[in-house]
């Protein structure tokens, strides 16, 4: 249970959160037309006659969009409805050419499912938590109005008009901004694993309507507000925090929360009312008579299921079972590209625990420095496996491995070649090591006295000095053994 509370004058308040996430389906063509969907095209260059709602034009469902929504449903272990139907949501707006949006109100494609957000003590999520997902339905996106092109007129860009969206509706199961943030991140991760949405919130591929209400713990749900089109995890969390606070202050000062739609202004970090329930649209939903009900066959569902990759939870469990730490497993599974890279590294023969440590520290550190994504890492999984192999078989030490990795990044050469060329092979030559140990102990006679007098922490100092003298190439285990012997 989350212990996130808003402290008001009348006591503590609990916040109740539900999210409707709109995710653009990854598909080359729109939901009901053949027009392209690429982001950033010139205005009105990706518009078919259907998208512009010319007289007599008819929608025909795009099978790939349906397939992606079904695969997404399967990834959240949801009920897939073999019979679903499209409805028209009627309202007038200049960015909505048909005068209605084709959506699914009465019979959505995907029913009840769930996802699990991982425990995160620091964020106030003490244990794993299952968040219910009520449904996923498929619908058309609208176009975009541009108000800055002309002094008195607004322009309309219909490139997005008709693009397929999945609306993923959660249960009101979240109780803190952190939980909501974790939910969005997890959902985004699943979508990207499945490949049904690129999850790019900056480009608008994913955005959330945030439903927030407050109550005294144990009371019935309060009246909720819905803040539309929030387009980053940070903003989702900020909206919840701000909106919960606003509602508590409103109630405690004698007001009542009205059910309304609000807009978030990121510049001022506040929400403001867009329209209240009273002047809410009557959308006059009814089944779209241009479309037959969508009936899915078993073979289609089988193909959808068979095409699903290993999903984040399963991958994480596998990593844990291979001894990888929970922290590393979380980091490695969060982004599908990292997970794929890591799996390729394992496949190339790297040992899981060492590989996980190396990827999360060395590789991520280097990529961070270079400002690169893992998908364009200068070092391939096979090259990394070669490097880690040299550490595993004792050819080089971990310290040397760091140097070798730097050289790999600089030159693009293989690890073994670099080790050979630079003479970085680790030595276990006891004679050479003993000679250096003798020098170190002679030069630090005072510290040897202290050590013998009981200051055992100085052992590390001797190891360090010896390694330094050996230019890092001595096998640390051999150094330890010989030092212990020498110090008696």
């Amino acid at each position: 249970m989350s212990d996130y509370r808003i402290k008001g004058e009348t006591g503590e308040w609990e916040v109740v959160i539900g999210l409707e996430v709109h995710a653009q389906v990854t598909s080359n063509a729109k939901l009901f037309s053949g027009a392209a969907t690429a982001f950033g095209a010139e205005p009105n260059t990706q518009v078919s006659l259907v998208d512009a709602a010319m007289p007599g034009m008819l929608p025909v469902p795009n099978r790939e969009c349906i397939r992606q929504a079904v695969r997404t449903g399967m990834a959240i272990e949801a009920q897939i409805n073999k019979w679903s139907r499209f409805d028209r949501k009627n309202y007038f707006y200049a960015d909505l050419p048909q005068g209605y949006q084709i959506s699914q109100l009465y019979h959505p494609l995907v029913g009840e499912g769930s996802l699990t957000i991982a425990a995160d003590e620091k964020a106030g999520i003490p244990s794993d938590k299952v968040i219910g997902i009520e449904r996923i339905h498929v619908e058309q996106d609208a176009g975009k109005l541009m108000h800055d092109q002309h002094p008195t007129m607004s322009y309309v860009d219909l490139n997005r008009s008709g693009v397929a969206l999945m609306e993923i509706v959660s249960r009101p199961d979240m109780r803190s901004p952190a939980e909501a943030g974790a939910y969005v991140r997890k959902l985004r991760s699943i979508l990207r694993y499945v490949g049904s949405c690129d999850g790019n919130m900056e480009e608008g591929s994913m955005r959330a309507d945030v439903n927030v209400s407050v109550r005294k713990p144990g009371d019935e749900f309060g009246t909720r507000t819905e803040t539309k089109n929030v387009n980053s995890v940070r903003f989702v969390m900020a909206v919840i925090e701000g909106e919960a606070k606003r509602q508590v202050e409103l109630i405690e000062s004698g007001g009542t929360v009205v059910q309304e739609t609000r807009l978030y202004d990121p510049d001022r970090n506040e929400t403001r009312s867009m329209r209240s329930k009273e002047d809410a649209h009557d959308y006059r939903y009814f089944p779209d008579p241009d479309l037959l009900p969508l009936e899915l066959e078993d073979a289609f569902l089988d193909e959808c299921r068979a095409s699903l990759p290993e999903l984040p939870d399963a991958k994480r469990a596998r990593y844990l079972s291979e001894g990888i730490s929970a922290y590393n497993a979380d980091v490695l599974t969060a982004e599908v590209e990292a997970a794929r890279w890591f799996d390729a590294l394992l496949e190339a023969g790297a040992k899981p625990v060492a590989a996980a440590n190396w990827v999360t520290s060395e590789l991520f550190g280097a990529l961070n420095r270079m400002g690169r994504d893992i998908s364009d890492s200068p070092v391939s999984p096979a090259q990394a496996a070669e490097l880690l192999g040299l550490v595993a078989d004792g050819t080089i030490s971990g310290t040397i491995a760091k140097q070798v990795f730097e050289k790999m990044l600089e030159t693009g050469d293989g690890a073994a070649a670099i080790v050979d060329r630079e003479g970085l092979k680790q030595t276990s030559d006891t004679g050479a090591i003993e000679a250096e140990i003798a020098k170190v102990l002679a030069a630090n006679a005072d510290k040897v006295e202290q050590y013998k007098g009981g200051k055992e922490a100085l052992f590390g100092f001797f190891v360090g000095q010896t390694m330094k003298a050996m230019q890092g190439k001595a096998n640390p285990q051999v150094v330890n053994e010989l030092l212990k012997k020498a110090l008696g």
Partner: protein, 493 residues
């Protein structure tokens, strides 16, 4: 040589093929008739050059031995079908001047089959009406007159009234129509011609300005049953661009025409015997029953118990769909835009739609908006959908004991222009016999059967099982052969 404009589609096709005349001669003859019939107001746009171009191609194809199924046949195109480069208005001010850059599937099929276009035919605005009086471009006038000494202008029926009037007046041998609740059959009956609405889904709706999507169905109108079969063969067919299109092969209806009904059973629905109906309608119906018996059919009485709910059901579902289908006419992208000084978006919507839609269209948009609105949806729309299912079941049950159903097409002969405009309900009642087959998506046709005492045509309707256009056409042919309907309107225009 017979006057070319008196020839049927089959006669033009065959005569052209045989070299009796050129296609250009045919096109010129019909172009002349069209040009001379402005008084009927059957056309919104005349396209003589289109007809001539197709005719020249037909003549060239004949010379080259590459004739197409309808080479040399000029037709009229209801102005509800989008035609590439030719104004398409749905008889509305809203789309006045709208020139599509695309061609409807049905019209494209006809051009591909060798037809030429004489022009775009007038209709009730957005196909909403039963008399053609709701057209923004003025009403069509029927070529028929009552033989009562008066000179009243009569309605050609609607919504395909331009089509019916033009065919009856020999302005074109055939035309396209669309039928949502009788818009092919009732005008055919009013003007003494034939017309068939095929099974829902036979003809693609792509490129036809939508009225009520679940009911709209294109079909041919022509002088006789054979011509309807020929035309329908060249209009029907699966279209991947229409999700409700039937994925079935198009039968060779013309080749299989047969008026021998031995072994067939004709159902007579008792609920279609309306109290207070013109006795001449019932007499014509009885005559039709006798004709089908004569053709070898057995006749049984059947029951379609939910018939009385068909009209109210239709007037919920059709306006509901229309209110949504017509939302796209908003002044933003094409068509009329009425933007008063200083107007915002909402003002533009209001001004554009107030100006662009006629009263009947507005009435139906308001009815449709009402029946779909929160709090009324279940009582009206949901209930109507249930009744629609019951009506379809009525037919399924009835077809357990018969092959086709015979009924009148309309409850009266053509009425005078203006006689029913003040009373929408009286106007809606015109479709009482036509609407049930529309709601059930069944093929149905009207054939001329008799003249009433005023000398006006009356039509009989044959309703068939889903996909059994052949059965409908064959029964229609049996009536046509026996009714011997040869009357035509005397030229006054």
């Amino acid at each position: 040589m017979t006057e070319l404009t008196n020839l049927t589609v089959a006669q033009i096709r065959d005569g052209h093929r045989a070299g009796d005349f050129s296609a250009v001669e045919v096109a010129e003859a019909f172009n002349a008739n069209v040009a001379g019939a402005k008084a009927l107001n059957a056309f919104i746009v005349e396209t003589p050059e289109h007809a001539i171009a197709a005719a020249k191609q037909a003549d060239a194809d004949r010379a080259a031995g590459t004739l197409k199924p309808l080479s040399g046949v000029p037709i009229g195109m209801k102005d509800l079908f989008a035609t590439n480069g030719v104004q398409t208005t749905a008889a509305s001010h809203m789309l006045e001047g709208f020139v599509p850059r695309y061609e409807s599937t049905v019209s494209q099929k006809l051009w591909d089959a060798g037809c030429g276009m004489l022009g775009k035919l007038n209709l009730d605005q957005f196909a909403m009406g039963s008399s053609n009086e709701t057209s923004y471009f003025g009403n069509v006038i029927s070529p028929w007159k009552r033989k009562d000494g008066g000179n009243a202008a009569l309605a050609p029926g609607g919504s395909s009234g331009g089509s019916s009037s033009a065919i009856a007046a020999r302005l074109c041998p055939a035309a396209t129509g669309t039928d949502t609740g009788g818009s092919i059959r009732q005008p055919a009956a009013f003007t003494g011609i034939s017309g068939i609405k095929p099974t829902y889904g036979r003809c693609s709706r792509w490129g036809i300005v939508a009225f009520a999507s679940s009911l709209d169905q294109a079909g041919p109108m022509a002088r006789d049953v054979r011509d309807c079969a020929i035309m329908l063969e060249n209009m029907a067919g699966f279209d991947p661009k229409d999700a409700t299109s039937l994925d079935m092969a198009v039968p060779n209806w013309e080749a299989a025409l047969s008026s021998d009904l031995k072994g067939k059973t004709v159902g007579i629905p008792k609920e279609y015997r309306l109290e207070g109906i013109d006795p001449e309608i019932d007499a014509m119906w009885d005559a039709g029953i006798a004709m089908l018996k004569d053709a070898g059919a057995a006749v049984v009485e059947i029951s379609l118990p939910h018939t009385k709910y068909a009209l109210p059901t239709y007037y919920i579902i059709a306006p509901a769909e229309a209110s949504s289908n017509l939302a796209r006419y908003d002044g933003v992208r094409y068509g009329l835009r009425d933007l008063p000084e200083g107007a915002g978006l909402q003002d533009m919507y209001a001004a554009t739609r107030a100006d662009g839609f006629g009263p009947e269209v507005k009435r139906r948009i308001m009815i449709g908006t009402y029946v779909l609105s929160a709090g009324f949806y279940d009582a009206y729309y949901t209930q109507a959908q249930k009744v629609r299912t019951l009506i379809a079941r009525d037919f399924e049950a009835a077809f357990g004991s018969c092959d086709v159903i015979l009924a009148p097409t309309a409850p009266s002969a053509a009425f005078g222009l203006g006689e029913k405009m003040a009373d929408p309900l009286a106007m809606y009642l015109n479709d009482v016999f036509a609407v049930p087959a529309s709601l059930a998506g069944l093929p149905a046709m009207s054939v001329p059967a008799a003249l009433n005492r005023e000398g006006l045509p009356l039509g009989l309707q044959i309703i068939g099982k889903a996909f059994d256009e052949q059965g409908v056409l064959n029964a229609g042919l049996a009536i046509e052969e026996r009714a011997g309907f040869t009357a035509r309107a005397e030229k006054w225009w």
